[in-house]
Symmetry: C2
């Protein structure tokens, strides 16, 4: 059967799904889209995402690719064909033809993640499961210094959870960490060439430890200087994290 | 027992509740807060809201009052006492002492509602149940003229659903309708001295009928000129509506 490679822009609310990656028993975003592909074509079709997101993590524009039968639905129409079979918390924003060798994960040059923190006493209901509710006071000068320290090329082994897949290269480049404050909302925008497992949540949680004065900058410097010798255990919760964009 | 009048600023996501007003069988916002008041004090306490919102309608700052025992919890601390007993989709943003005759509903000088419409092909998952998904194209000049026509003092009987409570005064003043466009998001901000039952949803739905070219301005003029002779049946869905503020 002749196939056509398809590039999908995928958005989801993280709460109802068991993360991106296919799970035994289903319920992951990948499972749900693969079920829609099977339902549309009658054939099992494998979906490849640019990056795995954990349960609870949201995506504004995850990228995925798959090979679909060439005859039948035109590439741009796959969006509607799949959306008709997906829940409203999971949407294909766009489907387009990709070159035969395009790979959503291996071709990615970088990623942008955002992390949202709500800092006032009460979390507004519309922010429930969409931001981390964390009280101040924060030392914003220390917060900025911590973010500056992490920016650049480092071995981030101390800011990664083990995935149980043997030794991996843990050197990554964080191109920028932008800090935004708007009223009680504090948010981070991380841009980097790639991120290790749980890395953005560990970076965020660790920056906030410093901002709260619970750890000092020397602690963070040590974690960077002696990669993996000890690890930060301060991961921010999944529901404040957003995969914003994949860069090619 | 000596009591103290309390003013509450209340926010909720509309989706999980059966509207504001107490329902047989419970499940309304008022029921849930009254249950928390009973649980806190051991006494049935009646809550009075500034305005009823329908099931699915959100509130950023609904106002309510109630009389609580004077001894015990200080007024500002009722916020935390109640929040500990409320679901995260319903929050008391602030509790404060009110003068003995303060009435959340009768003292209100006006209200601000917002209505959010998402106009692109696909509704992003994070907008699910938070905006009305309505495709264009829209005639924005006609939309603005329709909004201008509705602004001011009118008998809005044609833009109200019957509540089955006999004849009511259906004259209201809309002080302003502001139209905001940001990318695919179109939103309205209605400020008025008061709104009839389903009025904001009927105004929004009717303005959009004109913007889509499905009805003309003459139709809207007729509905205003002959109040209640015929009625607009084009109510926008509840989940795009937000009670933003109550003015005193």
């Amino acid at each position: 059967m002749e196939t056509q490679r398809l590039k999908l822009i995928v958005a989801y609310e993280g709460t109802p799904f068991r993360g991106w990656q296919s799970q035994r028993g289903g319920g992951a975003v990948q499972d749900v889209i693969e079920a829609a592909l099977l339902d549309t074509t009658g054939q099992p079709i494998r979906l490849h995402g640019a990056g795995r997101t954990d349960a609870g993590v949201h995506a504004l524009a995850q990228i995925a690719h798959c090979d679909v039968p060439r005859s039948g639905i035109p590439p741009a129409k796959w969006r509607d064909a799949l959306n008709a079979r997906l829940p409203p918390t999971l949407r294909i924003l766009r489907s387009s033809p990709a070159r035969p060798k395009f790979h959503a994960r291996f071709d990615a040059r970088g990623k942008i993640y955002r992390y949202r923190i709500w800092t006032s006493d009460v979390l507004p209901p519309l922010e429930h499961l969409r931001a981390w509710h964390l009280h101040g006071p924060f030392d914003f000068a220390a917060l900025k210094r911590a973010a500056a320290l992490l920016t650049g090329r480092h071995d981030f082994a101390s800011f990664a959870a083990n995935r149980g897949t043997g030794p991996v290269d843990t050197v990554r480049t964080i191109r920028s960490i932008r800090i935004l404050r708007r009223g009680p909302l504090l948010s981070f925008r991380f841009e980097g060439d790639g991120f290790l497992y749980k890395m953005v949540r560990l970076l965020t949680g660790s920056i906030l430890r410093v901002a709260q004065g619970k750890n000092d900058l020397a602690w963070m410097e040590r974690l960077l200087a002696e990669p993996g010798q000890s690890k930060s255990s301060h991961a921010a919760p999944a529901h404040g994290l957003y995969l914003d964009r994949v860069l090619y």
